[in-house]
């Protein structure tokens, strides 16, 4: 093992780790992949990490969460748990194709994806073979872009254990694909899950993801997901973020939509330390429908930043964005939702709503909707409200004999009901509901 002299900058430390691991743990056979990684580390070095002065990261001090003590997870630890123990984390009652990853790596013995229909491929990227493998590798980092995000660059530079999902044209995947991501690391470890999903024309698929910490170590989770939704395809995505309070997580998620496609993503953030969700949707053809929903249950000192972009490039599209936050204790929520309508993108209907309730005087919410519209025949709206529980409503309920706790729970459920009810799977909806009730 090479000894590294302690560098002064995190960026330098990362570059050194890259040099150390390249050609060893990051071997792989694909020259294309190797080339992609090399460009990514250069892009990372060129950009550097965001600081407090970076406008897009103004409220989220991520730079404090990465130090020169950090290492990038690369070893293969022995499996920390049995199949039974792993499955105990699953939301009960969901009939799905199940995949389990530990520290970003797919673990076949914990998974059960048998029976996926008609040529649907779901596999670690280094096992995607032949022409499909080449195709998928060629599509990596095309929705995301390492040159525009240091976190995407960081993930891409160390790309090894990524997963790919390929749904062929006209295939309807009959059950959701449920990916349970488990994290079991030492402190100061960067873990980088990666997933590329391609839904070919007229296909339909639902992906459920659940991110869970197995221990209390301060892992730094840097996710990159790319979703390509082809013509007339339907792609639905749900995710549950349930990480430990010492963790930091940056989710970089990108959807690209072709004509007449349907895309929906729904994030329930239930626990964590610092979480940043970067979500970018590009409806790059006419007749696209896009839904972005988020529910945040903030407690303790959680800090959760939802940073979204809907980039309407073509006319006749619909997008709807709904984020609801409940902030208890000293938690902080940030919402920055940008809707960009290009000059040629006429007849766009774009809606955005961000509503937050702070339950204590120490909870904080920063909300910043941004509409940038260059077309003249569009219908766009946004609304952002932050308030406390309505004292008169609480009194009304209590005057009917309901306890303070019951009254609060009724009002908070009512506040969050539209965003929670938007979850189409009843067991998942009940699970999020129950987590809300437990938190009171």
């Amino acid at each position: 093992m090479t000894t590294i002299e302690s560098p002064h900058r995190v960026e330098d430390r990362i570059s050194e780790l890259y040099s150390m691991l390249d050609g060893h743990t990051l071997n792989g056979n694909s020259a294309a992949l190797k080339n992609l990684r090399k460009k990514a580390i250069e892009a990372f070095a060129a950009q550097g990490l965001p600081t407090r002065k970076t406008e897009a990261w103004k409220y989220t001090p991520v730079e404090k969460k990465l130090s020169v003590d950090h290492t990038v997870y690369h070893e293969n630890r022995p499996l920390p748990l049995s199949k039974e123990e792993a499955h105990a984390f699953l939301v009960p009652g969901i009939d799905a194709y199940l995949a389990v990853t530990v520290n970003g790596k797919y673990i076949a013995e914990l998974s059960n994806i048998e029976g996926l229909p008609n040529g649907t491929v779901f596999t670690p990227i280094d096992q995607a073979s032949g022409s499909l493998g080449d195709l998928l590798v060629s599509r990596l980092d095309t929705q995301s872009d390492s040159s525009k995000s240091p976190f995407v660059a960081l993930n891409t530079a160390f790309l090894k254990d990524g997963l790919v999902l390929h749904v062929p044209a006209k295939v309807h995947v009959d059950k959701p694909i449920y990916v349970l991501h488990l994290f079991d690391t030492d402190a100061h470890t960067i873990v980088q899950p990666r997933m590329l999903c391609v839904a070919e024309r007229e296909s339909e698929v639902t992906l459920i993801e659940q991110y869970v910490s197995l221990n209390e170590a301060s892992h730094f989770i840097n996710v990159v997901s790319e979703w390509a939704v082809s013509q007339q395809a339907t792609f639905k995505h749900y995710q549950i973020q349930d990480l430990n309070t010492a963790s930091t997580a940056v989710f970089n998620q990108y959807a690209y939509q072709e004509q007449h496609s349907y895309f929906a993503t729904h994030t329930s953030t239930l626990k964590g330390g610092l979480i940043r969700n970067n979500l970018e949707i590009v409806p790059d053809a006419e007749e696209c429908e896009s839904h972005l929903l988020g529910f945040l249950l903030g407690s303790g000192t959680m800090h959760v930043d939802n940073h979204t972009l809907v980039d309407h490039k073509k006319p006749n599209c619909f997008s709807n964005e709904l984020y609801k936050n409940i902030l208890d204790d000293q938690s902080t929520g940030v919402f920055n939702g940008k809707v960009f309508v290009h000059q040629d993108a006429q007849k766009i209907n774009a809606y955005q709503s961000n509503k937050s309730i702070t339950l204590t005087n120490k909870a904080r919410m920063y909300s910043k909707p941004e509409l940038e519209i260059y077309a003249d025949d569009v219908r766009c709206s946004h609304g952002a409200t932050t308030g406390q529980l309505d004292a008169e409503a609480l009194f009304y309920l209590r005057s009917r004999g309901l306890s303070q706790k019951q009254a609060r729970s009724i009002l908070l459920k009512a506040f969050a009901h539209d965003v929670i009810d938007a979850i189409e799977f009843e067991p998942l909806r009940d699970y999020v509901d129950s987590r809300l009730l437990e938190s009171l």
Partner: protein
């Protein structure tokens, strides 16, 4: 059942009630009348336990217990019901979920099992008929999109479901047309019984044509300045509050 002695209460350092005395016995209907700002709604709020009000002096005993020591929900469970002047809209809270929880809170307090779905349906139907409430309202959010009359009828509907010992009607007549007033009053009259007390707060005599009180009190500047039978309300209607004001000053 209710004994208020020398009650002083203020809101934001403004003294509203200045030594109010009132005794309500089971079976009695008391009307509290008075001009705007005399303290009528403050009395209702203090009885139900609204936090904005501070009781600076005096006592309230309800069924032998110190009411002022109790939380709003404890008061409700002990048998106090406030029909709100402005019922609160609760978007996203379904009527049936809300009412079921309220009924079960009471049943739990009484050591009874939660209500079954069938019993609940039956009870809802029976009590809704009492105030001619459209059964469809049960599926809607509490008071959301209800007309003024529906909101007031909903208050009486809840009263009927929760069967309080003491019901306080805070200007239940305000904003009601004559038909709605009649329906609401009929509902209240059907709930009158030998062991249930009522405090009916109103600005106008009109309501008392339908809910005939046993005793009428006139509230002026935070105190009850005169009490009498239902004829007192008629006199007030005829002569206005200035008549009493002048009288009291003399």
């Amino acid at each position: 059942m209710l004994e208020i002695k020398d009650l002083h209460a203020s809101i934001e350092d403004m003294q509203i009630l200045k030594g109010l005395n009132l005794t309500v016995n089971p079976g009695e209907v008391h009307a509290i009348m008075g001009p705007n700002g005399s303290g009528k709604s403050t009395l209702a709020s203090v009885l139900a336990g609204r936090e904005d009000y501070e009781v600076t002096n005096g006592s309230i005993s309800f069924m032998g217990e110190d009411l002022l020591e109790m939380e709003p929900d404890e008061r409700a469970l002990a048998g106090i019901f406030l029909a709100f002047q402005y019922p609160v809209e609760l978007p996203g809270v379904s009527m049936s979920n809300f009412l079921k929880q309220a009924i079960n809170a009471k049943r739990e307090h009484l050591g009874q099992d939660p209500i079954t779905a069938a019993e609940f349906m039956k009870l809802m139907k029976e009590k809704a008929e009492l105030v001619h409430l459209n059964p469809d309202l049960k599926r809607r959010s509490v008071n959301e999109g209800f007309s003024g009359g529906e909101k007031k009828r909903n208050e009486i509907f809840q009263m009927a479901l929760l069967e309080p010992q003491l019901a306080i009607l805070d200007e239940t007549d305000s904003g009601l047309d004559i038909d709605a007033l009649r329906i609401v009053s009929d509902g209240v009259n059907q709930l009158r019984s030998a062991d249930r007390g009522f405090v009916v707060i109103t600005h106008y005599q009109r309501l008392l044509d339908y809910i005939v009180p046993d005793i009428v009190h006139v509230l002026l500047d935070g105190r009850i300045v005169r009490s009498g039978d239902k004829d007192l309300a008629l006199q007030l209607e005829e002569k206005g509050y200035d008549w009493i004001k002048d009288d009291v000053l003399v």
